[in-house]
């Protein structure tokens, strides 16, 4: 009976060991760097379009809501400040990470799970090639690299969406919009704070995906479970870690 309750703890322990195993496999080698960049390109390219589209619409919605709320106090010209703050610190990193989990995390888990189900991971071990080093690590590092870049892209598109709505549709003054954004939003705290967060989220999502891929049962259903778990667990983790980081750093 107690084994049932211990199972999540044991899983968390194994996932932690897996992470250490990945970190221990980091080498200053050209081969590893090359494969990491290749994976960063793959996962980045996979997620770029959806992240740009979502960013644009999130920016428009933010502007719409902000103008509605601020107009009650006659402060609609503060819209860029509100949009910028909430976007750079919270929404940009969090939404990008969630989209990345759905788009790239699932792909990573399914790819690794399938390699396992078809014996390719076995074959690597038999060739004395460490699959954690060769398969998991580059994808993990690729998440660390590409999610901050995607977050920056998401935020840029969201600002564009806000501009289109606030200036183009609502006819607010462009000069006021930009000057409020420039003076109110601080690069170091607001923008870079969000970027550092997104580095953590990237590692969290791609690490979770690699872990579920590797621990997938070697069957079709096993791979399906691994992809589902990747989205569910990494999304929850992102939101929990976001809360912890936000309460720590503000």
């Amino acid at each position: 009976m107690s084994a049932r309750w211990l199972e999540p703890v044991a899983t968390a322990g194994r996932a932690g060991l897996f992470t250490l195993q990945m970190l221990a496999a980091i080498r200053p080698s050209m081969k590893q760097a090359g494969e990491t960049l290749r994976q960063a390109y793959l996962v980045g390219a996979r997620s770029l379009i959806i992240i740009m589209i979502c960013g644009f619409f999130v920016g428009m919605v933010l502007a719409l809501q902000a103008i509605n709320a601020l107009a009650q106090f006659g402060a609609a010209d503060q819209v860029s400040l509100l949009v910028g703050k909430s976007l750079f610190r919270e929404l940009g990193p969090v939404l990008t990470a969630l989209l990345f989990a759905g788009r790239a995390g699932t792909a990573i888990a399914a790819e690794i799970g399938l390699m396992k189900a078809t014996g390719q991971i076995d074959a690597m071990e038999l060739m004395a090639i460490d699959p954690v080093e060769r398969v998991a690590l580059p994808r993990f590092l690729a998440g660390l690299i590409s999610v901050p870049l995607l977050t920056a892209m998401f935020s840029a598109m969201a600002i564009l969406g806000a501009v289109v709505f606030a200036i183009g549709v609502m006819g607010l003054d462009a000069g006021v919009f930009w000057s409020k954004l420039q003076t109110g939003v601080r690069f170091g705290e607001d923008f870079m704070g969000g970027i550092w967060k997104s580095v953590a989220f990237g590692g969290l999502v791609s690490g979770t995906a690699a872990w579920y891929g590797f621990s997938a049962r070697p069957t079709g259903a096993g791979v399906a479970t691994a992809t589902t778990n990747t989205v569910v667990i990494s999304s929850v983790l992102v939101l929990v870690i976001d809360f912890i980081m936000t309460s720590f750093f503000t």
Binding site: T118, G119, Q120, D122, A123, E125, L126, M127, A128, I129
Partner: protein, 262 residues
Amino acid sequence: MPLNDTPAIRLEDVVFRHGDRLILDGVSMTIPRGAIAAVMGPSGVGKTTILRLVSGQLRPESGRVLVNGEDVSAMNRKALYRMRENLGFLLQNGALFTDLTVFENVATPLREHRDLDEPAIADIVEARLDAVGLAGTGDLMPHELSGGMARRVALARAVVLDPAIVLFDEPMAGLDPIAVSTINALIRRTNDDLGLTSVVVTHDVVQMKKLADYCYILAEGRIAGEGPPAELAASDDPAVDQFMNGRMDGPIPFRYAGAAGS
């Protein structure tokens, strides 16, 4: 003990279970250096399991598995990987890397464990593909190959490092008679030329007789018979006779060993 007297592979009274199902119940084997040994037996009896014990992917419940005199289950990861650099394993399903071309599949072990430049790798890979009758297929992807072609690519990949020991899990399954003879000759020739040790799992009694120096027949978790193929063929042990001559009736049952009643 001088190295040359140590058998390449030795199983000492190995017991192995999957869950609570007893698969191997005290199996002992000795495969001397330079020999080609065959392992035969009905489907599901544990032939692949034996190879996986030798490669260190599985560990015995009791008994010892020795490769070049070293206990595989006592090896740490590093020692295991070092041992595997000298051990080729043709997996039953081939397990080619589906995202790499045929060329890259065969080149992977070379890139990993040998410090060679691109032209040297290309030379070796082309020669190995040629040896399995697949010259000029380097640019194909695994899904573009037939089943038999894929097995031959996997074979080329398994031996590309010229390992001292090669484990072949049904190298002949699904191949046409010409390919079977070619692969047979290839195994025999590399064995004689390079002095390597081979373990071949096969169901093909005729090919086994041509290829193997020594043969083990496995039934119900134990070695039912062993010896040079000619001796085995003349054996009057009922299980050995049943298997060598493909008789329906005899001590070896035609059913899943985990089924009720076993």
